[in-house]
Amino acid sequence: MKNSRRRFLQIAGVSALGLGAKPMLNAFAAGGGEGPGYHVATGEDALTAKQWAMVIDTRKLQTAEALEPIVEACNKIHNIPTAIENKNHEIKWIWETHYHNAFTDKTNNFLNEKVAHRPFLLLCNHCENPPCVQACPTKATFKRESDGIVLMDFHRCIGCRFCMAACPFGARSFNFRDPHPFIEENNKEFPTRMKGVVEKCNFCAERLAVGKMPACVEASKGAIAFGDLYDEHSEVRELLKENYTIRRKQTLGTEPSVYYIV
């Protein structure tokens, strides 16, 4: 009797191990390069690219007033809980800062005054080599192979915040509390998030899918260009050809896809 019970427990234990091992084996077999098993539905008018990129012409955005409608457009359509007062719990997808905060490795003691006083827009860089994707233990954040956007699956994220430690740009926010009471106007077209998950700019993947440009690009009245980095005739490539541009912390090798004309 005792022996058979022990035997049963042994077999049950080994079986449980076997069940647990299956997804692991799958992962090693797949090499880990696959994204999660879901996709953003795309319409016939969907805009496509090999790697979406953004060029921000900061010369056309000299004041905080000029940036305000851009940030607001994003906040509004993405249900950003802007009414959170505690700075520690802030959710930011796109926000403004000073030159020396944006370009920490490109500051001079004696900087062009116009640049020093100009506000700069910060957002997720949708790196070609994103450290946050490398860090994520569940593929909840992943680089979409079709167009290079770094996306988040809010339903898979376990809230370990490894991606926040990995991001060298401070682009990620964590829902330290339920965001719903702090959303000023609820946009029913875009999902709200729950407490305990990380979120960030998604390059408006949901708008690209229906043929629209990102909200910030639309609101910028021509100051922000958006296009395919690997299409030499795209607007962003034309701008990169004609203007001297800089990127944030490019020495780290993450290859940010957001360029700034200063």
Partner: protein, 385 residues
């Protein structure tokens, strides 16, 4: 052997009741955190890991420290340690249980924790950390339990345990190496971006783990009929002396590289920790306190007279545990996040609920350790007593 854990005097049961009380309080606070979110902690958008992950990191070290008795006994056939290897293994079990709990309480969506296994991601260090930590827990449970049972029955432990014992030695090194890799592989976090992080973690682990083990041995000798042995304690003390010295040496290597090269990315975090940055210096007294504690620990353990005197050795172990905890627990995690990637300074301090939950986790560890040690000491009393 479990029956040994349910026989005890009123002090034993009183202690367990106290621990259960602390665990209950901690669990209540955790329910609050589950309901409200991690916003009840002091963590922020900038300092996105805090007290939980800091204590996790420290305890991985304590767990790895157990190998400092296992290795000399099994690899060098240092017979004296045969008496206390079980104490090292059981300490490792309690420490790993706490590590896993700290990870759980730190998750924003703990009910999704199994996603790590459901969607295994081989490029994430966290995936490997989950494997090595659970593996180490499993190894120590199997080895500790079976070796103790064999000792009780007066027979040699099973032959198939031998390979597991050998595997457990590099495995102990791996748990703290992989834990260091969580931090030191991240671009843009210059404080952690150093190849010496894993060695530094190991050095502090091999000081803190054995130091705690010495205190536990002294306690066991005082309050039970089992004497872990003078020679054993003295050998552990020498390990502590070397490890704490190497730990401080590694730290000084970091300081040299940062301040001789004068590269701001490297100096700024050390400046924040030791002199403050832009008027923010909450950790400055703690860090200097840690330096004084570790220096005192070095003097007391390296000097033969104070090492051989068990009272001063006990003090040395306490200051080393405190010093390394501040260095690794408080400074290492906060220091890496302040200033943030935009060079803004946003400081971190744990909140009361956060400290309460942390104490709850420590109480679970103490409970596991108490029960395991009760069994181990019970067997030793039977066999040697």
């Amino acid at each position: 052997m479990l029956e040994l854990a349910v026989k005890g005097n009123k002090w034993y049961w009183g202690w367990l009741v106290v621990l259960l009380g602390v665990i209950g309080a901690g669990f209540g606070l955790y329910l609050m955190q589950l309901k409200f979110g991690l916003g009840i902690t002091g963590m922020s958008r900038d300092v996105s890991w805090g007290f939980y992950i800091a204590n996790f990191t420290y305890l991985v070290g304590v767990a790895a420290g157990g190998v400092m008795v296992v290795l000399p006994y099994y690899l060098h056939d240092y017979k004296a340690y045969g008496k206390i290897t079980i104490l090292g293994e059981f300490l490792a079990i309690a420490a790993i249980v706490m590590c896993l709990l700290f990870i759980m309480v730190d998750l924003g969506q703990p009910m999704r924790a199994l996603n790590v296994l459901l969607y295994p991601t081989t490029n994430s260090v966290l995936f490997y950390d989950a494997i090595v930590l659970n593996g180490y827990l499993f190894l120590n449970l199997v080895i500790g339990w079976n070796v103790l049972e064999a000792e009780r029955n007066g027979v040699h432990y099973q032959r198939w345990l031998k390979p597991l014992i050998y595997i457990s030695i590099p495995w102990a090194v791996s748990i703290h190496t992989v834990t260091a890799f969580l931090y030191c592989g991240l671009p843009g976090r210059h404080f952690w971006l150093t190849a010496i992080l894993a060695p530094r973690f190991l050095a502090s682990a091999f000081a803190a783990g054995p130091a705690l083990l010495i205190l536990l041995c002294l306690f066991i000798r005082r309050f039970t009929n089992f004497d872990p042995g003078k020679e054993q304690i003295q050998s552990l003390a020498k390990t502590v002396a070397y490890a704490i010295t190497i730990n401080v040496f590694f730290l000084l290597c970091e300081v040299f590289v940062a301040f001789y090269s004068q590269i701001p990315g490297h100096t700024t975090h050390l400046n924040y920790l030791f002199v403050g940055l832009h008027g923010h210096g909450a950790l400055v007294p703690w860090m200097w306190g840690s330096m004084i504690l570790m220096a005192t620990g070095i003097v007391l353990t390296v000097t033969p007279a104070t090492r051989k005197n068990e009272t001063s050795l006990m003090i040395a172990c306490i200051v080393i545990i405190m010093g390394t905890w501040i260095d690794k627990g408080l400074g290492m995690i906060s220091g890496g996040f302040v200033p943030n990637p935009m060079h803004e300074v946003n400081e971190y301090a744990p909140t009361m609920p956060e400290i309460g939950i942390t104490l709850g986790v420590y109480a679970v560890g103490a409970l596991v350790l108490t029960v395991l040690y009760k069994m181990a000491v019970g067997v030793k009393e039977e066999v040697h007593g």
